[in-house]
Amino acid sequence: MSRIADVVMKPRAGKLLVPFFTAGFPDMRTTVALVKAAAEAGADMVELGMPFSDPLADGPEIQHSSKAALDNGTNLRRVLKAVEQLQREVELPLILMGYYNPLLTYGETKFLKRAASAGVDGFIIPDLPVEEAAGFKTLVESNGMSAVFLAAPTSSPERVRLIDKFSTDFVYAVTVTGVTGVGRTFGTDTDRYMRRLKQELTKPFVAGFGVSSAESARRLARYADGVVIGSALVKIIRGAANRRSCLKQVTRFLAKVRRAL
């Protein structure tokens, strides 16, 4: 069984906590330290964002962190190097999240093979819906990794079934219609949608987009098998005065969410 399947099927404690960091923001050394801190704070998996010049599913926080990461020279090669290092130092599965064009440019086959040997456990590509992903899914799985597809509040039951089928181990539920960002409030609409997913999906699912507090994480975790926290962390990292305080604040925030789950 893959590490992801392992974690998804039997989380260590309560629901899954999945932090997201933009790889290379503010620099790759800090990203590596952040992943280790997240592991210690009780994260079950980590999502690493591969920065892209035109992240059209992302709001201002991740747009900004992506640009900063690109400006300091972050590219796929460096992301894989960081994964290689992390692989030796932390236990938890690492999922790469990013847009399709950089992968295509690197060469899909070549990149996925290298990603697997660097220790990447899975992929989320927000601009690659299931209709366009047959070849990608096959390549990811044949390299022993996990393909994660997104479901949205606007996905029909037929689409949800297809997304369920395409996802190797679990599905990523986008909580609201919209781009990534902080400070969403989740109402009864979200509850209804989460309940629907719970019924329609055969695989576990994590919920993400707009989760910015322990309370909102707990609310989503009533239905979801875990939560992804991204923009809220990027915001903390952006606001931190230095590396030490950045790690401290992120650890404290994640520990708080961990307790809520």
Partner: protein
């Protein structure tokens, strides 16, 4: 196989290898809904009649095919004809498409319209039809473009649209498009996204092409009447490529008619500062489709450059990528400087101020008139008028030659 060639795009929205739907899951249902709705409405007599009536009484179609006598004499080459899209209401071909799409939006019961714009011509055409049909209108426009196409911004606001400046990235059409897509992902249930060119995810490249094909149908009819034959060549500028696809579509099967697309070479093709996607780009994925694109060795989109805001875009419609690979169309490029010279030349010789975008098509013929015989007839798609570009011209020094 043999027999009749299958219509493009195929049912997966592909023109050969190009096209498709590379968008977030959230809007996939809206693309399915739009595809279904368009398929139902396309052959509906009421829809067709309404579209036709608006094109005639509101847009001012048909637009003339005009013989550019003095430019012809000056270049001493082929007989040059302008398809006068600059004479449409709002002054560019963009209005053909927005009229069609607003009818679709209304049919689908959408109350809010969004659009991206570069030169402001598509934004203006969208704001115009929104005013005409009483729908809320939000236009995303790069901050740089807002500056260089100020008159169009004023017009859009006068028409009741909200113009949102986009400050990210290159602050031009690419970023305006990304921001419009983000809005659509967020408000997809209430909002219709009127895309302005033959770009984006399927079915947009097909829908925009179909609405713009009126240009080519008229041109073909006018050629038969005026020239008593089909033209030797049809030349159009290429940003996203909607005026080109529109005028070419009825000529694609006429193998003897040469089709020439002219991209923006900016400061020169080897300068690295251009928007010549088909000449210098490679296939990649941006804004929902797989098509030629300008990006670096890491797959990051490179900021394009063109003096013309409407051509300042790193991508191109997927059908153009297919037409390039198939060899049916020849794609060329001219520099900012050459386009400006053609802009001035046409103004002085014909009393027509062409858009800087269309000036690229004219500039290519100015350079290559010698390659045609004097009895050849060449049609240039004069996609829009150049009043909006007066500010840019002033930046380029003396207005008088």
């Amino acid at each position: 196989m043999g027999g009749k060639k299958r219509a493009l795009p195929d049912n997966r929205g592909r023109f050969g290898d190009y096209g498709g739907r590379y968008v977030p899951e959230t809007v996939m249902y809206a693309l399915d809904e739009l595809t279904r709705c368009y398929r139902d409405i396309k052959h509906d007599a009421t829809f067709k009649a309404e579209f036709k009536e608006l094109l005639s009484s509101y847009v001012g179609r048909p637009t003339p095919l005009y013989f550019a006598q003095r430019l012809t004499a000056h270049l001493n080459g082929p007989r040059i004809y302008f398809k006068r899209e600059d004479l449409t209401h709002t002054g560019a071909h963009k209005i053909n498409n927005t009229v069609g799409q607003i009818l679709l939006a209304r049919h689908m019961g959408k109350k809010r319209i969004i659009a991206e714009t570069g030169a402001g011509q598509h934004g203006l055409a969208t704001a115009t039809v929104c005013a005409r049909f009483g729908l809320e209108c939000v236009i995303y426009m790069g901050a740089v473009d807002i500056e260089r196409q100020a008159p169009n911004v004023d017009k859009m606001q006068l028409l009741g649209a909200r113009v949102v400046p986009v400050e990210s990235g290159s602050k031009t059409l690419k970023d305006a498009t990304s921001e419009a897509l983000r809005d659509w992902v967020t408000n997809v249930r209430s909002t219709f996204y009127i895309i302005g060119s033959v770009v984006g995810p399927h079915p947009y490249p097909m829908i925009v092409r179909d609405f713009q094909t009126v240009i080519g149908r008229e041109t073909k009819r006018q050629c038969r009447r005026i020239m008593r034959r089909l033209p030797h060549a049809v030349i159009a500028c290429i940003g996203g490529g909607s005026n080109a696809i529109g005028i070419w579509e009825p000529f694609l099967k006429e193998r003897k008619v040469k089709l020439i697309g002219v991209e923006a070479a900016g400061y020169g093709l080897s300068s690295g500062r251009h928007a010549a996607t088909l000449k210098r780009g490679r296939p990649g994925v941006l804004h929902g489709s797989y098509s030629y694109l300008i990006f670096d060795s890491d797959g990051q989109i490179v900021l394009p450059h063109s003096v013309s805001a409407g051509l300042d875009y790193p991508g191109v419609g997927p059908q153009h990528s297919h037409l390039k690979d198939s060899g049916r169309v020849v794609y060329e490029a001219v520099t900012d400087k050459e386009a400006i010279a053609a802009f001035k030349l046409t103004s002085r010789l014909e009393g027509i101020i062409p858009a800087l975008e269309s000036s690229h098509a004219i500039a290519w013929l100015v350079k290559n008139a010698g390659g045609f015989k004097k009895n050849h007839q060449v049609v240039i798609c004069l996609s829009g008028r150049g009043d909006k570009d007066m500010g840019i011209l002033a930046d380029w020094g003396r207005i008088a030659p």
